[in-house]
């Protein structure tokens, strides 16, 4: 029987971690772009567009991420479209992340006092100008800590994609366990790697919150 050293295990897990990181980045950036579009529609669009954005957010927040992955993976297959696991994983996570980010950011925009809208429109600014120069610069400050905090959820969310066969950190853990028969060691290492990814994010979210609050101490 082949003996596996700890380094063998760790090396394989770390190689798979690249895919966890890549999927997290794609989800977060793609979700951020789609989420920003949703945000604009949600607060400034026509009535129908607003309802669509609201429905979208509620649908994706209200169903388990795992179901969304299954639907993306198997659902499209029903139409004869062969979806590779990485594509289904990426699409599902982008759409899921977008829903949450849109909702987080909507709260941030709505936390800006109504007087800011009134003052800027009284000065002749249109909706896009108000958003660009008055509302978003203030809302972004409020949005940074919860957004960074949510990125932790995205990283952990990628673990679910192992179920549809995308080989990221969790899936690699199962594969390595099947070869080594050392589940405790392997999954222990997997957990530690997730922690090493997520903990700095949580910490920086807390630090940012404290730092940005200092700027708002008079309010």
């Amino acid at each position: 029987m082949v003996e596996f050293t700890l380094w063998d295990i760790l090396r394989n897990l770390l190689l798979a971690t690249r895919w966890t990181i890549a999927l997290s980045l794609v989800s977060f950036i793609g979700g951020g772009i789609v989420g920003a579009l949703l945000l604009f529609v949600r607060i400034g669009g026509s009535r129908v567009a607003r309802l669509f954005a609201k429905g979208y957010v509620e649908l994706f927040q209200g169903a388990p991420l795992l179901m969304q992955l299954f639907l993306a993976f198997f659902g499209l297959g029903l139409f004869g479209i062969d979806v590779p696991a990485w594509l289904a994983a990426g699409v599902a996570l982008v759409l899921w992340t977008a829903a949450f980010l849109a909702e987080i950011w909507r709260g941030c925009v709505e936390s800006i006092a109504r007087g800011q809208w009134e003052a800027s429109s009284s000065l002749g600014m249109g909706y896009i100008q108000q958003m660009r120069w008055v509302i978003l610069p203030q809302a972004l400050k409020v949005a940074v800590p919860p957004t960074v905090g949510f990125s932790v959820q995205v990283v952990k969310g990628t673990a679910l994609t192992s179920i549809i066969g995308f080989v990221e950190l969790s899936k690699a853990g199962s594969v390595v366990t099947n070869a080594t028969f050392q589940p405790f060691t392997v999954y222990g290492l997997v957990a530690l790697i997730y922690f090493a990814l997520c903990w700095p994010l949580s910490k920086s979210s807390q630090m940012l919150e404290r730092k940005l609050n200092v700027a708002h101490r008079d309010h």
């Binding site: 009134e118 003052a119 800027s120 009284s122 000065l123 002749g124 100008q129 120069w133 610069p137």
Partner: protein, 241 residues
């Protein structure tokens, strides 16, 4: 021709009719104080004139152009009429100078050096030239309100609407803001102000409008309105002050 012609303006919020047909004609250079109890509709009237509220009846003309609730007409109107708010509403992420420059650059597309020169001029006009680089939170309430006045003036409006601009200020800061308004009046700016400062209304304004239950109850020269009120409501209002 009147600069601002308000004709039979009506406004309701649900079942509550706040303005029941208001007609006021404002001539260029006039300074008009709108007084009345809270809930009489005076702030709502100002918010209708700059289009923050849409009207349900009647018409508002500013410099011959009718106020219509679409973005193009609203923008044209807001370039003519500046508004000062009770809560200042300065942009907290910009310096005093930045506050005065922003709309010039974004709305009027004024190049930055010119916008800055205008901002310095306007801040100087309200006595705050030295606070160009200060952020709103570093300024007193009175200073913030003067920056807000400079910000409105920088757009070179033909009239200013002032909505209880001293009501959120500590008593000792009221005078510095009123002094600025008084100077504007002396320079010939058309002013329409909702105010609780009766002495100021009496000393500076050319006409006083007393609003009561959504109507113009009395209107006239401040001397007449304050010394010889015709209606019991106005007598009671003045007596209560």
């Amino acid at each position: 021709m009147s600069l601002i012609a308000i004709t039979e303006v009506k406004k309701r919020f649900g079942d509550n009719e706040v303005l029941k047909g208001i007609s006021i004609d404002v001539e260029p250079g006039e300074v008009i104080a709108i007084i009345g109890k809270s809930g009489s509709g005076k702030s709502t009237l100002l918010r209708c004139i700059n289009g923050l509220e849409t009207i349900d009846g009647g018409s508002i003309m500013v410099a011959g152009a009718q106020l219509l609730p679409d973005e193009v007409h609203l923008k044209a109107l807001r370039l003519k009429v500046g508004t000062i708010f009770q809560q200042f509403n300065l942009f907290p992420h910009l310096t005093a100078g930045g506050n005065v420059m922003l709309s010039q650059m974004v709305v009027k597309k004024t190049p930055k050096p010119e916008a800055e020169a205008m901002a310095r001029k306007m801040l100087d006009r309200v006595g705050l030239a030295h606070k160009f680089d200060a952020f709103p939170e570093q300024l007193s309430g009175g200073q913030q309100q003067r920056v807000a006045i400079a910000r409105a003036l920088a757009m070179q409006p033909i009239a200013l609407l002032c909505d209880e601009i001293t009501s959120a200020l500590d008593p000792e800061l009221v005078a510095e803001v009123l002094a600025v308004v008084k100077e504007l009046a002396a320079d010939g700016m058309t002013l329409l102000m909702v105010t609780h400062e009766m002495r100021f209304a009496r000393d500076v304004c050319s006409r006083v409008v007393f609003m009561h239950q959504g109507r113009v109850h009395e209107i006239g020269h401040p001397e007449d309105v304050f010394t010889a009120p015709k209606t019991p409501e106005l007598r009671q209002f003045i007596g209560a002050q």
